[in-house]
Structures are given as C-alpha cells and as structure tokens.
C-alpha cells in the first residue's frame, strides 16, 4: 500500500480524473510557492512593484481552490471512492484549504511590503527576517515535494522543521520589541514587520499540516495533534 497506484483503475477515465486532480493541486502549490517567494523578495528588497503584484494576484489561488473543490465533490458523488482513493480525495480537500491560507498570508506580506517599501532605511533585522522567510519557503517546497512523491519520510522530516521556525519567529519578535523600545518613532513599521514574520510562521504551520495529510494519504493514520517525536519514531526508524 506504500505506492498508491492511482493509474491502475479498471476505468481509465477514473485514472485521468484522479491524475488530473493531483496535477491541479501541484499547479496550485506551485502558484502559492511563487506568491510566497515573491512576497518575501518584495519585502526584503523593498520592491513596491513586485509587492503590488503579490497583493493583487491571490484571486488566482482562490479560484483554483474553488475549482479543485468542485472536482472533488464531483468525484465523491460519481465514483464513491474507497480506501486509498478516498484518502486521496480527503487529502486534496484538506491540502488546498491550507494552500489557500498560505496564499492569504503571502497576500498579507505583499500588502505590508507595499507600505514598507517607502521606508528606505536598511534595517539590521532584515537579514533575520530573510533567513526566517527562506527557511519557511524551503519547508513549503519540501511539503509540496512530499505530496508529489507521496513520500512519508520526507513529510516527517519537513514537518519536523516547524519547531525551529517557531523558535526563529520568537527570537525575531523579541528583537523587534527591543527595537520598538529603542526607537518609538519606528513602532508602526516594526509592527508591520512583525506581522510579516507572523505570516511567515503561519506558512510554516500550514506546510506542516500538508505533511500530516501526506502521512494520512499513504499510511491511513491520522497524525494530527500527535507529538512530533512520536511521529518521527513511528515513521522514520523503520528502514
């Protein structure tokens, strides 16, 4: 059951439907990843044009979510999927919800980046923010990769990075608080930066969720709200 042979149904049309569904999720994932990357770049480089593009393109991710949802409903109604096919549909429905939220977070970062773009002063903590952002986007990329390859071990490894991101976010927040206390005139902008960091941290959480769905898809076990160490023990040691 490790390999979900979604191309081996007796009905070739069913194969095509499931394959098409999976491809659409990949495309949506690609769009969301690009949005997140652009949002981070616009923020760090103060690129107001790119920031505006990010802030105004989320509708494409949203319409993709609606489209995929409709296809899932259609397959549920007409095929009554069971076992791994059923888990596939459930996984897709849940994954695209998280992808859509990641899209929202990217949009938020884009909007803050637009406001921050006029603030020309290069800030020392931008490098920490950049580091956090790169870390988060790597995680998102890893989650999408694990989904594409239905790779449980990769999913566990990627989900395992979430605590690091939480720590990075907390350290950055402390730094930003110190900065606000030092220079009260900057409070507005620094708060905006903190919101961006918060959005990045949320993207990490959503990526970790996607990894959990991958484990459910392949193994059939619901690992939400299970301790990370327990998940790692269960799925990584078995070689």
């Amino acid at each position: 059951m490790e390999n979900l042979h979604i191309d081996q149904h007796i009905s070739r049309k069913y194969n095509e439907e499931l394959e098409g569904l999976r491809n659409k999720v990949m495309i949506m994932g690609g769009m969301v990843e690009k949005q997140s990357r652009n949002a981070l770049e616009a923020l760090i480089k103060g690129d107001s044009k790119l920031a505006e593009t990010v802030a105004t393109s989320d509708y494409r991710v949203n319409s993709m979510e609606v489209e995929i949802d409709a296809e899932c409903t259609d397959i549920l109604a007409r095929r009554q999927p069971a076992a791994s096919d059923l888990r596939m549909i459930i996984t897709v429905i849940k994954t695209i919800t998280d992808l859509e939220r990641i899209g929202d977070e990217a949009e938020k970062i884009g909007r803050f980046a637009l406001k921050l773009a006029n603030n020309q002063e290069p800030q020392s903590y931008y490098s920490e923010l950049h580091h956090l952002g790169e870390h988060v986007i790597e995680m998102l990329h890893g989650a999408l990769d694990a989904f594409a390859r239905m790779d449980v071990e990769a999913a566990v490894r990627v989900a395992g990075r979430d605590p690091e991101i939480d720590q990075e976010f907390e350290a950055l927040t402390r730094m930003l608080i110190t900065h606000m206390m030092e220079d009260p005139r900057e409070v507005k902008n620094v708060l905006r930066l903190n919101w961006c960091a918060r959005s990045l941290e949320r993207i990490g959480d959503h990526s970790a969720n996607i990894c959990e769905y991958v484990i459910y898809l392949v193994k059939g076990h619901d690992v939400r709200h299970v301790r990370l160490e327990q998940i790692q023990e269960q799925y990584i040691q078995k070689k």
Binding site: M1, H5, Q8, H9, I10, S11, Y14, Q80, P81, A82, A83, S84, D85, L86, R87, G220
Partner: protein, 303 residues
C-alpha cells in the same frame, strides 16, 4: 507512452491466449489458473477473522466441487447480532461459503465439505444434525425474490405450520402478522393477505421472503445478494430492515455492491479465489484495507 506499452502487453497476452487456444492447449491456461491460485493459497488471512462471542465459528473449511476446490482453508467467525458482509469478485467462493453455513451445498451432487462449522458450539456437520431443523435455525434469502405460488398469508404460514410452531389458527395468524411487521411489509399488504405473493412488486416480494425466513424463528439469516434485483428505493428499505433485524438475528450478507457492504455491515470479509484474504471492521476495510488485493478490489483497480 506507458499506456501504449501496457496495451502492447495486453495484446501480446491475448495473442498468447488465442494461440494457446488454437493449439488446443487448454491445459496451459488451466495451469496459469492453478499457479495463480497456488500463490493465493499461501496467503494467511489478515485482519481479525475471529471475534469474541461468535455465533458461528468456521474452522479450516475446504469445499470441493468434483476436483475443483472452491473454498481453501477458510477460518472465520460470524459475530452475534451483527451484520457480516462477504465481498469479492465472481467465483471467489463467497456464496459457496455462505451456503456451507446452513448446508445448502449438501443438495449439490459432487460437492464435498471438509472442516468444521459450529453454530453456538454445536457442530452443524454432525451426522445427527437434522438439516431441515438446521435450515429453520439458519434461514436464507436469495438473490431473486422467490415467493411460493400461494397467497401472501400462506407464504409466511407455511414454515411455522410444517415445523409445528403454532397450536391453532389464532397463533398462526399472530406469527404471520408479527413476521410481516418485522419485515416492514404488514401495513402494505394487510388488506390483501389472500392475494398471491407473486403479485407483489419486486421489493415487496423480497420483504415477503424475509418475512417467510423469519417466521420460523431463525437465529441466523443468510442473504445471497438480496438486493441485486431491486431498485434503489426497495434496496434502501431492505437495508433499513436489516439494520433493525440485527437486534434480534445474526445476519450474513453476500453482495457485489461494495457500497451496500459498507453501508450495512459491521464486519467485512474479502474473498479471493477461494481464500479469505482480509477480515475486519467494515470502517477499516473501506478506508485503510491492509491487503493489496482488498485495496485493488474495493477501489476498482486491476489486480
């Protein structure tokens, strides 16, 4: 590209088959079958074939039709007061196994049974066992509704009468009414009990057959595709009825409709080439089957 290769493989296979046929080597084909079933023969049943408080315990059951083996080493418990569904492709032995549980296979010449089946601890293949009484305890409902060409009343009254379950007409009337009520048919037919049972609709006829089966007070009801000749509405009412009946009876159903097995049963057993491949909680079998053959069957994949 891959599909093309698949197609080619299929075509080559077909060529093989036809050349074998033209050369008259039918034996080769049978050898393929035998090799496949030899592989399946090795499989251990996975999941939970045994339950606490089982109504029927089948152990090491083998059934042969002549020299062909239809059931291979099946050991399976049927849980009390629950619905057990048996699914699997045509010719997998599920109906044969169902019929071993009230010795309906005895009627078939050439059919040989080995193993052991106990109903509440009592060996039903014991020489002393009266099969007529056994079949009253383990009733059966068939694929096609088969009411007797008699009145609705007589259809239900026949069994209790020959088994001497009623002392007088009033008691018999009572059994008939109760059975028809339990089969959710009474209200529809109460004013036409003297009309022929064959005049009812398909769904009503099937419920009449269920009423007939429960009139003799069975402990177990075996159902062999009870809804395959019925429309979805009649099917839904039979399924609703099964759910109520399981409070009082133990039910075993053979069905080709996976959705039906998923809807009505508490446990599901998957049969393949005469073996029980997997048994388990219905919820688990339909969401996370353990055996690849089960997975392939319930998701409609090429095995």
């Amino acid at each position: 590209m891959e599909r093309n290769e698949n197609m080619q493989a299929v075509l080559m296979n077909e060529n093989n088959v036809s050349s074998k046929l033209t050369e008259g080597k039918v034996e080769d084909l049978r050898e393929c079958d035998i090799r496949e079933s030899a592989k399946v023969r090795e499989y251990e049943t996975i999941g939970e074939p045994f339950t606490d408080n089982a109504k029927i315990c089948a152990r090491d059951v083998n059934v042969y039709y002549g020299d062909k083996q239809a059931i291979i080493d099946v050991s399976l418990d049927i849980g009390r007061n629950e619905i057990t569904a048996m699914i699997g492709p045509s010719g997998c032995g599920k109906s044969t196994f169902l019929r071993t549980m009230n010795r309906m296979n005895d009627i078939i010449p050439d059919c040989r049974f080995e193993g052991n089946i106990k109903l509440d601890g009592e060996d039903i293949y014991d020489k002393e066992m009266d099969t007529v009484l056994l079949r009253a305890r383990v009733g059966m409902v068939f694929q096609k509704p088969n009411p007797f060409p008699k009145s609705i009343y007589e259809n239900v009254a026949y069994g209790p009468r020959i088994h001497g379950l009623a002392q007088n007409k009033a008691e018999l009337d009572d059994i008939v009414e109760k059975s028809l009520r339990r089969a959710s048919l009474f209200d529809e037919v109460k004013d036409q009990l003297e009309k022929p049972g064959t005049g009812l609709s398909g769904g009503q006829q099937q419920r009449l057959c269920i009423a007939r089966a429960i009139a003799v007070g069975p402990e177990v009801i075996l159902m062999d595709e009870p809804c395959s000749a019925l429309d979805p509405i009649a099917t839904a009412s039979i399924e609703e009825l099964m759910d109520e009946l399981k409070e009082k009876f133990t039910i075993v159903i053979v069905t080709h409709s996976m959705q039906q097995a998923a809807r009505v049963s508490q446990r599901t057993a998957y049969f393949h080439l005469g073996k029980v491949i997997e048994v388990g909680d219905t919820k688990e079998v339909f969401t996370t089957p353990k055996h690849e053959l089960t997975e392939n069957y319930i998701t409609g994949r090429i095995g």
